[in-house]
């Protein structure tokens, strides 16, 4: 009896320790985000105070009011930036997913010459830091005349995302047994119908997650965007953060407020899509 009790106590202590450990990890992960939200509500004096003021004394939404206010009263063209970000991210994601699906499917299903070399080539492009390409890109874009356009940035982001989406979607199509598409063809589908009726729905969660990654990459990208955009025509939200820096000062509160405005749509999207990301849909297709 005594040893049984002992084990029960030990198990409870262990699960308590797990809980505490996980809680600490979560706090560490969430703290920066929380600090951004908090800073967006506090006056600069309090943010910059030394020693730090841990308990907020003075919370207000002034920064948000000012941000959406008139130019000259701390206002910045948030709506333009937001629109640019949205147009560029959504369009580049849609294109990257379309190419990624076609490419991923080809890599997963077909044999062709130079397949592994090509695949490796795609992966190698991921090893090049994007910032290293910014100057050549800038020069080329300037020559062609697509600096400060949606098109230019969309093109850059598609190129950035395609290798990754191909790689990810290839993996998901590989998990869909080939037999299923064959069964569908015998059941009367054309190859095209077999893809849309059977393979696409099964790889759907994977394609959605590739979409999220592509979207977030485009939505958050700063280095290339800061080079390739100039004005409200094409500046995205991350570049918009620079509006809060001037020669001698940085408006931390305003910057944090804009950061929050940026985070909210990305967070919402991820939250909406994540429940569709549950894998394991394919189990039961073949023996298992």
């Amino acid at each position: 009896m005594a040893s049984n009790q002992q084990h029960r106590i030990r198990r409870r202590l262990l699960s308590l320790a797990h809980f505490i450990g996980l809680a600490i990890a979560m706090i560490i992960i969430l703290l920066p985000g929380f600090w951004i939200v908090l800073s967006s509500l506090r006056p600069t004096v309090e943010i910059m105070a030394k020693p730090a003021i841990w308990i907020p004394q003075d919370l207000s939404l002034d920064a948000y009011v000012a941000m959406f206010g008139k130019v000259g009263q701390g206002g910045i063209p948030v709506w333009s930036y937001f629109r640019n970000s949205l147009v560029i991210s959504v369009t580049s994601t849609a294109i990257a997913i379309a190419i990624g699906m076609a490419g991923g499917y080809a890599f997963a299903r077909f044999r062709f010459k130079g397949k592994s070399g090509l695949f490796l080539g795609f992966m190698l492009t991921r090893t090049v830091p994007g910032i290293a390409l910014s100057l050549p890109l800038f020069i080329i874009f300037a020559r062609v005349g697509i600096i400060d356009t949606h098109f230019g940035l969309i093109l850059a982001y598609v190129a950035l995302n395609v290798p990754f989406t191909i790689w990810l979607i290839d993996g998901f199509f590989r998990q869909v047994p080939k037999d299923l598409a064959e069964a569908a063809q015998i059941d009367g589908c054309t190859r095209w119908q077999a893809f849309w009726q059977v393979e696409f729905p099964l790889a759907g969660p994977g394609i959605a997650s590739a979409g999220i990654f592509a979207f977030l990459t485009a939505w958050n990208e700063f280095a290339l965007a800061s080079q390739l955009t100039r004005s409200v025509n094409s500046k995205t939200l991350p570049v918009g953060l620079l509006d809060y820096t001037s020669e001698f000062t940085i408006d931390w509160r305003g910057m944090c407020a804009l950061a929050v405005v940026m985070i909210v749509p990305a967070l919402t999207l991820t939250f909406l899509v994540q429940k569709h990301l549950v894998s394991g849909l394919t189990s039961g297709a073949v023996k298992g």
């Binding site: 069964a183 063809q185 015998i186 059941d187 190859r191 099964l202 039961g284 297709a285 298992g288």
Partner: protein
């Protein structure tokens, strides 16, 4: 009407030829099993009939119509896959109705035909489940249901039972046989299990390395194997097959032990001929414990030592040491035996087989 004919059918992967000009005529409503060890080209042949593999040479006719270049959907066939290949994102009902939905049939016709198939396979309880919620045997039945809903002219089965356990397999075997009797379609059935082929098929096609070794009824391939390979492949436990040389009316084995040359081969083989001697376990039995005991004169009797016994209840497989090899025999109405025991054994030579040692071809006159 759906006959299936293969004429000089060839499949190549690049330079590698895996099916070498197969000829086969399958009659309407016939149940034909393609059987052979893995890699013999049987599945590839089936997939060519289905249209899932390109044909490298030769012709495939279904119902007299050449289908070489037709996509699977235009061949009026159904296929049951080894993996079942059920659509995981659809319920059983949707799985079974899928082909009709694609063909844009009216909903009430789909319902009616799906229910009809469900009735035949007793799937009614499972119609709203997903494949992942079904057991192996149930998935198998759904896969068959999906195949029969289409009312195809030809059913193709690709090792449909090999993912099931032994008991379920024999159950499903019966169901497939019943199904064939009910739907009256032509069936091409691929399996590596000779028992499945023997029990189900009207005719068996035994394949090896991309060639057809023999085509015949189960009885023909069992009793009159055309080659040594067929003799060894069909039947369980397998035929006793040992190398020997003919020497003045005797079959002499490597260690010098000899058996009289079976009477029916006397005219066909001459002294010095290298042969493979074959005798089924059924035709080799402890004297008084066999099937054919006393029905033929052409027998050879000898006292041999038992090495191992495998009791199966109604019969016992008894292994004897003879000619330096283990020979397996079937003992009916068995009694318990001890290893090392000496026992009178009858070789029913009227049922013996001789094959050419180099070509493997049967030396028998009797044509299969």
């Amino acid at each position: 009407m759906a006959t299936v004919s293969l004429k000089k059918l060839v499949k190549k992967y690049g330079e590698l030829e895996v099916v070498h000009g197969i000829d086969l005529e399958i009659a309407d409503r016939e149940f034909v099993a393609l059987v052979g060890p893995s890699g013999c080209g049987k599945s590839t042949t089936l997939r060519m009939i289905a249209g899932l593999e390109d044909v490298s040479g030769g012709t495939i006719l279904i119902g007299g119509r050449e289908v070489n270049e037709l996509p699977p959907r235009e061949r009026n066939i159904s296929m049951v896959f080894q993996s079942y290949a059920l659509y995981p994102h659809m319920t059983v009902r949707e799985n079974m109705g899928f082909s009709l939905k694609i063909a844009k049939r009216p909903q009430d016709e789909i319902d009616q035909r799906v229910n009809e198939a469900a009735q035949i396979l007793s799937l009614n309880e499972l119609m709203d489940r997903r494949p992942s919620q079904l057991s192996g045997g149930q998935r198998q039945r759904v896969a068959m249901g999906r195949a029969i809903v289409r009312h195809p002219e030809v059913f193709l089965f690709d090792e449909p039972l090999s993912n099931l356990d032994a008991k379920l397999r024999s159950q499903m075997r019966t169901e497939i046989k019943k199904l064939h009797a009910k739907v009256q379609a032509t069936v091409v059935y691929v399996t590596h299990d000779q028992v499945e082929a023997m029990t189900l098929a009207d005719r068996i096609v035994i394949m090896r390395d991309g060639y057809v070794e023999q085509v015949g009824t189960p009885d023909q391939v069992f009793k009159h194997p055309a080659t040594r390979f067929v003799a060894g492949f069909i039947g369980s436990p397998p035929m006793n097959l040992f190398e020997a040389t003919i020497d003045s009316g005797n079959v002499v084995f490597a260690n010098g032990d000899a058996i009289p040359l079976p009477a029916r081969f006397k005219a066909n083989v001459s002294t010095g001929k290298k042969v493979t001697f074959g005798l089924r376990p059924d035709d080799l039995f402890p004297t008084g414990h066999g099937i054919g005991s006393g029905t033929t004169d052409d027998v050879f009797k000898r006292d041999l030592n038992v090495t191992i016994t495998e009791p199966l209840g109604n019969e016992t497989l008894v292994f004897f040491d003879f000619a330096g090899r283990d020979w397996v025999s079937r003992m009916l109405n068995p009694r318990s035996l001890a290893a090392g025991e000496s026992l009178g054994v009858t070789f029913d030579l009227s049922q013996a087989h001789l094959f050419d040692a180099t070509t493997g071809v049967s030396l028998s006159d009797r044509k299969a």
